[in-house]
């Protein structure tokens, strides 16, 4: 253990103390969720202090667990405070939001497919989200969900090829790259559109 690690540890512990004290004092529930999220960053900081490749790999699951707990608690908060209101039509009309989505979404999705993999999925999803934001959402989201599920299965299947038949690694890379593209795109394009639609 070198000195930098000990110093970093002390800083994080100070942060933990401050965060927990703030949570103890805070009475507003929404503010407490936000403070809790801040405190979770300190857990990631503790992992990051290890400063090895393994620590880098451990941050992702830590982050995912933190986000999923945050989502769960936020949902409980929404239900608790009865904050669900049906979405209303946009109050104003913008011309470009009706003409641009088609071509923009096409370009982004095409570029995403060329990139492939996780990055490509994210780029293509931005195109899809832009389209849904502008044109409204009357699509069958159940179908997108199903496609995402099958893509996930292909992705996992590719990992089994890596493990069991390593000689066919190129085939597995192609499957994994394509499947993660579809999966990320499908999942991300559902952001902000699932709640309260008529096909949900």
């Amino acid at each position: 253990m070198d000195q930098v690690y000990v110093l970093g540890l002390l800083v994080v512990f100070a942060g933990v103390l401050i965060g927990f004290y703030a949570l103890m004092r805070e009475r507003d529930d929404l503010h407490r969720i936000l403070l809790t999220d801040l405190a979770e960053i300190l857990a990631l900081a503790l992992i990051a202090l290890v400063a090895t490749d393994l620590a880098e790999a451990l941050i992702l699951p830590g982050l995912v667990v933190g986000i999923s707990e945050l989502l769960a608690v936020s949902e409980v908060y929404l239900a608790k405070e009865d904050l669900r209101t049906p979405p209303t039509a946009p109050p104003f009309r913008i011309e470009v939001m009706e003409s641009a989505p088609g071509i923009m979404a096409l370009i982004l999705v095409a570029y995403g497919i060329i990139l492939s993999g996780f990055t490509g999925g994210a780029v293509a999803a931005v195109g899809a989200i832009f389209y849904f934001l502008c044109r409204g959402q009357n699509e069958q989201f159940a179908i997108i969900e199903t496609v995402s599920g099958y893509a996930w299965v292909f992705w996992i299947g590719a990992f089994f090829i890596f493990m069991l038949l390593p000689a066919y690694w190129f085939f597995a890379v192609m499957i994994a790259g394509g499947a993660i593209l579809v999966k990320v795109m499908a999942k991300m394009s559902l952001i902000g559109t699932m709640r309260g639609g008529e096909h949900v």
């Binding site: 994080v12 809790t36 857990a43 769960a72 409980v76």
Partner: protein, 222 residues
Amino acid sequence: MFNLPVTNIGGSELFVLEFGDIVNYFSVYTAALFAFALIFTALAIVSRPEKMVDIAFGGDAYYTKEIDPGLLRFQRFMAIACGLATLGAVVSGDVFNFTLFVSMVGITNIGIVAAYKNKHVLNAAFQYGIVAMLATVPLFGGAAIVLATTGTLSLWELYTAAVAVPLIAKIFLVLGVMGEGMAPFYIAKAEITRAQGAPFILMVHVSSLLVFLRVVEIVISM
């Protein structure tokens, strides 16, 4: 090839499940916990939930409560997920995997409790969720300190006498598990257990008990 270095708590290993460098093990102790979790997961899968009956005080009147099948379906799903997470946590041979499974137990416990739409129960679920989220700080912190000081996360290495795990890491691990699995000990326990769906609520208690027993084994053996 694999010999469990410490056998005074868990007994010698019965079966080893190897995933690359992550080696799960079933000792007498963890196999017993595993069997217990398996039984309750099976119960959550096959059981028919009870219907609540309220009796009016001071009279013969009673009324049954309406239970939304959708909510029960969600509760059953969460109970099964909780059982699977517990199964993973009790046989894990890796500290970080153990912490991940424990936090998954925490998330699913929130889900089980929060499935019931009652202001008081939701309030209790919210408070529990805040505690469970905060508990990830010592939980992952403990695993990270173990990694930083010993250079490994494998319990097979950590159980050997040559590797010394600092006390603070052990304390952090126990604190984290206390936070994640605290639903049965929570001050609003009455509110939580008042939620309907007896076999599913039971999973909250079983999972917490099992991960507690497991963390005791890990901390003492380390």
